[in-house]
Symmetry: C2
Subunit: 835 residues, 2 copies
Amino acid sequence: MMRWIASDPMNRSRFPIEDWRLVELEPSVDDLGVTETLFSVGNGYLGMRANPEESRKSYAHGTFINGFHETWNIKHAEEAFGFARTGQTIVNVPDAKIIKIYVDDEPLTLGISDLDSYERALDFRGGCLTRELVWRTPAGKRVQLRSRRMVSFTDRHLALFEIELTMLEGDAPVVLSSQLVNRQDGFDDYRQPKTDDGFDPRRAGQFQGRVLQPRGQWNDDQRIALGYETTDSGMRLVVAAEHTLETSNAFEVVSRVEEDQAKLVYRVEARAGAPIVLRKAVAYHTSRGVPPLELFDRCRRTLDRVRERGFESFFDAQRAWLDEFWLNTDVEVMGQPAVQQAVRWCLFQLAQATARSDQMGIPAKGVTGSGYEGHYFWDTEIYLVPFLIYTAPRIARNALRYRVGLLPKARERARILGQEGALFPWRTINGEEASAYYAAGTAQYHIDADIAHAFAEYCNVTGDKDFMYRDGAAVLAETARLWADLGFWRQEADGSRRFHIHGVTGPDEYTAVVNNNMFTNVMARANLKRAAELMREMERDESRAFARIVSSLGLTEAEIREWEACAEGMVIPFDETFGIHPQDEKFLTSELWDLEKTPADKFPLLLNFHPLVIYRFQVLKQADVVLALFLQGDQFSLEQKRADFEYYDPITTGDSTLSAVVQSVIAAEVGYQEMAMQYFLTGLYVDLADIHANARDGVHIASTGGVWNALIFGFAGMRDYHGRITFDPRLPKDWEAMRFPLQIRESRVRVLLERDAITFDMEFGGPLELEVRGRKYEVVLGESVRVGLLGQGEELPSLTGLKPVTGGRPVTSGRRADGSVVTAILPEVKDADPE
Amino acid sequence: MMRWIASDPMNRSRFPIEDWRLVELEPSVDDLGVTETLFSVGNGYLGMRANPEESRKSYAHGTFINGFHETWNIKHAEEAFGFARTGQTIVNVPDAKIIKIYVDDEPLTLGISDLDSYERALDFRGGCLTRELVWRTPAGKRVQLRSRRMVSFTDRHLALFEIELTMLEGDAPVVLSSQLVNRQDGFDDYRQPKTDDGFDPRRAGQFQGRVLQPRGQWNDDQRIALGYETTDSGMRLVVAAEHTLETSNAFEVVSRVEEDQAKLVYRVEARAGAPIVLRKAVAYHTSRGVPPLELFDRCRRTLDRVRERGFESFFDAQRAWLDEFWLNTDVEVMGQPAVQQAVRWCLFQLAQATARSDQMGIPAKGVTGSGYEGHYFWDTEIYLVPFLIYTAPRIARNALRYRVGLLPKARERARILGQEGALFPWRTINGEEASAYYAAGTAQYHIDADIAHAFAEYCNVTGDKDFMYRDGAAVLAETARLWADLGFWRQEADGSRRFHIHGVTGPDEYTAVVNNNMFTNVMARANLKRAAELMREMERDESRAFARIVSSLGLTEAEIREWEACAEGMVIPFDETFGIHPQDEKFLTSELWDLEKTPADKFPLLLNFHPLVIYRFQVLKQADVVLALFLQGDQFSLEQKRADFEYYDPITTGDSTLSAVVQSVIAAEVGYQEMAMQYFLTGLYVDLADIHANARDGVHIASTGGVWNALIFGFAGMRDYHGRITFDPRLPKDWEAMRFPLQIRESRVRVLLERDAITFDMEFGGPLELEVRGRKYEVVLGESVRVGLLGQGEELPSLTGLKPVTGGRPVTSGRRADGSVVTAILPEVKDADPE
């Protein structure tokens, strides 16, 4: 169900279009939560929401460290065997952003203070957040304030703050109070705004009692530091800040530390025209095993390095790092400056979420908020890893390494669920299943196949066989083993024997615990097949890793043959009447949800209807069959894809932000170009225009990855089945051209897509074989390959006319594989006259 | 899956057979929990576990008042719209049973003290618990102790205790310390024994913080009293005790009260041979709205009445009440003294659970324990109301009245679930849904049809039209309305239009949230039909109640026609291959659970496997289709019933105690007489022999009701479809005869079933038309109708040979309607060779 959005849904008088920055020209306290998210800075390890240094009012004063979490016992209102036991919630670590500003003892307070000018900008190339404003104090004095803030991509423990304050008119006593504050334990009302007594399962849970136990404080007249240990999970953290003040004005400094607050206060006798520059370098170090004392030392060393190399050198290093980043990732969209800016914001968010996640997972909100409790989901493998594979394979490998480390716990979890092999947790930080609602959690067994898929893709595209043999093989084998054990053989009415998988939930969480979910079966089939292929390949290579895996997993030829048989016999549900793949065996027997009659304020459905009600209907939260058509597209004909898309699109609410970008890719492929653009824009602006009204909880990182997918796989029409790179582009009709780099097997090729041609330039490495619309081309270093294009794919009218009609009559919907429209034998709505 | 049990599984050296008492000859601390349950006393309002007056050691010092509960906010680990919000848990009210006994300052402590003799007995005719023992004190003195305890059937707020202590040899100082103690808030470790870190969802939840807030204390040298109010639910309670000491020995008395304890202590200079008799009368009064002060007054009045009428008169009244009870309920089993005793224990438990439940529900454990948190379920309507209808119609009416009172909240709940009409809570005390695990809770919509069924049966058998018109009509109409709204019409492949009900759970909780659960659809069909019939009948009668219901519910002729159409079009799933009713649409497509290979310690499955695992298989917790065959038996042929029974019996674990008694009834009907007996014994001894290893948590009241069902509907072969009373008996082959009374339409008939005849004697009322094997007989007052019987039904061998074979081969199971055995096209087990 497509919702039309304006091609540029942002308020441009407040957020003007710029190529390389997101800029805000007016401060507002009305959407603090959203702007805190949009302008946040981070590096994948450490993230800070965009609360101004001096601010009091906020939606959420948030600072997050990837994986730094507290654990708690999940108390199920009714227990059952095997339910998740350990809750895991990312901690709001002590806030180091604070530098309160007083002129004539009057505080600067956005939303109250009188500002002559204001600009705040997130700089995608400089990698920092800047602000510049002129404040007219109550006494009529004018104060110029400039600030810069960054979280370093090169030094992941480091954040830098710089404030330059100048009295433009009049002298005044100025106070700058730099602080470290433990907001998690009471200095803040973050997480659940007190006025909001509704609930939203996508927000973080609540702790009981103190989370951070004080483990030391330290101060002198330049440095302040606080140490903590989490009460239950036993993680340790130290945050320390180093300060230097540069000014010709007279000043004095005092510092003080307490358990939950450290302060360093400058009192300056500011004269007009004499700038005051305060530089604050902040180091965060965390560990599970190291004592807090050592973390104090580590912070000291990080801060010493800043002192040695100089503050500015880190801003330079940041810019250099980003130069390289943009060289590898930038997607240029010619003739579309608004889209261009939004695309770059998305790509910059991907850097901020993944650059230094190192060998941890990537939380659903990156490090921009505590939404989804800082958990890692399947999003990483399906929405982020493709981007990483083609732009930063080293980071992709790190993300996959994280899963390798989870294997022992995934094996344990499989045992609890009564299965062989490994079952990865649906949501987790520490590797244990943290999904307390199994129907839309643990039941999503497909995460095993998603992870296996990402390993296969990584290996196909990068050619990194070593990693696949050494680390990937166990993941593929153990996931294949799970599928072979989970499913069962059944003799069908026609005498054939097929492999069935019962009792699972697919990606679409509006239908739960079903038999033969199409997505799951398709992905499991690929998982089984790829695992068997890999084992055979390793055996042929006489790899030492093969001997190791055979002995450690007790692998036999018979088991590999079983995987092949399971893949071969896998049921892929197909309905002959509609010529479509039912989402699960019984999906088409259910009633249609009347989306047309559902008022706008009843979306998302999950916040307004009991799961039992939602599960009873044909209605989707997000692409499910359609996602399978994307990820395993070589298994389906174009006609099948079109029929499926036409059937599912009208009943897909897109209540999940994971939906639009996938709908966009397949809409482009099957010929609905206008819909592809609409879905693309929905994904592109999901946070920038706050389309789902929850950008305040953090950036939808998977959706930013999905935007890249929509650009490359949707509009550029790239596919990479089994490592074969092909293009069948559909450049949007209003776009002049687009250009982007791809890293493939240790080479980088830049792709220019224009209206009448696609051009490949090898920037390093090569040669490389690429296909455009079925023809092969070899691209070598130093040569440009230009392939002419006659048109850019089919262009069908939008699907609006095919929306299911549910006003009391049988539904008409669905286009047969031959293109004819089927008047469906579908459930009628219940209020039809029963006579 | 039948498990063979010994025909008399009780230890007879400890629990000898007696006709009218359950007797214990040896005390034991090893199974305290079980004996506390078996010997508990109660009247449906107030219940006391059988902790000895002096005892310290216990499994659970429990005293319960039906409906006296505390509420708490359910904290779901992951929230969703419409999840139950308010937890409700029965409170362990202050313990008034305590009379500690010291001789020469030595305490009497069972399990430690040296006893010369011991007997404890629950007297089914006297309605009291008696004990008699001789204690040899450490100083070698011999003390005789006799005690009686009862909870009054005639005065529901009253419990009486009497202790007679006599020094048989030697004088000694004797102390009797009578107490009232608030165990709920810390004087006791009841609920979760500290050493048990496992979980059992069938046990009660835990409170946080104080439950009972002190609201006054009172004492003089005869009376002590404590008042409380529950912290969250705001219910009030006062307990008061009156004491009299009768002895020729010198004594003094002191009393003291504190917030959580009241004591009245007698110090007696006991001389050998001079008895000391302590009588303690206890009154409990509770209320939601009345202030505690008034409850103190009510207790005082209850105790004054005891003082006036004399202690003994209440024991006499108790016996008189029970004389009448047995006249109306006793099922005599001739030639089977062990069975006879157990049957009477079950019937006595039914009295203790229902006699004074008045217009509250009947908790799953009666008032004998806090299992299932004191909640009311569908058990009342399906397992207890039939017994009550035929033996105590006034109490049946009270139980149904309770549901009438819930209608407003049931309407609210339906709205939350997006439905018209009323949806009764799956488990509740205060009327709000308290089921925190919806898949095996809220999803059991069938409770609506179960309640409607009970109303219909009540009206059919008693002829109490007034009640049906005034109170039952709204219940039937609102439940019918729910079904009509919940289901939907679909055009089938053959062009017909059928009414489908999706996304519900049937009685069998090992399969959840399915489409077209056979039990639900069959019961909903009856609900819709009966509601329409009732409306038409009321209209014909020009009843004023009809006008009222039309206006209050906005009922129209069109809606009544819609109910009829829904009933008519209702899908009842049937599988032609097996000739059976699948439990739900997709049930037969699932894999069979390998029960033969499941070790005994993995039962019940629900405590050893994740729900997702259990749901994936064909395996039943309890009768589901088979229960429908019982309740709506006139809708199915004998052959269909036999085929269904043969298919489901081998895959039914009986992990629920609700299962065996239903299996017994249908086994008897379809001809498996030996299985009928085995299932009957499993139900009969479920608590007496602790077959499910959880008798400690309270009596399985539904099962005791089921025992009556098995006797009357199973062995006596009675049916009462639409109020037509028919018999087709199957007297067990080892039984000489059985005799029982039935109240039908204001008459009472006593039925004697012998090997060669069935005889009816009208004791009051009449005449009455009864049918025996298709022939009608009129029974009138003063005449005896004897109908000769040639044999007692078919007798097939047990089903063991038909158990599904799941050891790697296709299953053979299922007998076709024509009696032939089908080699089934069934799922194979997964570890079959895939080649």
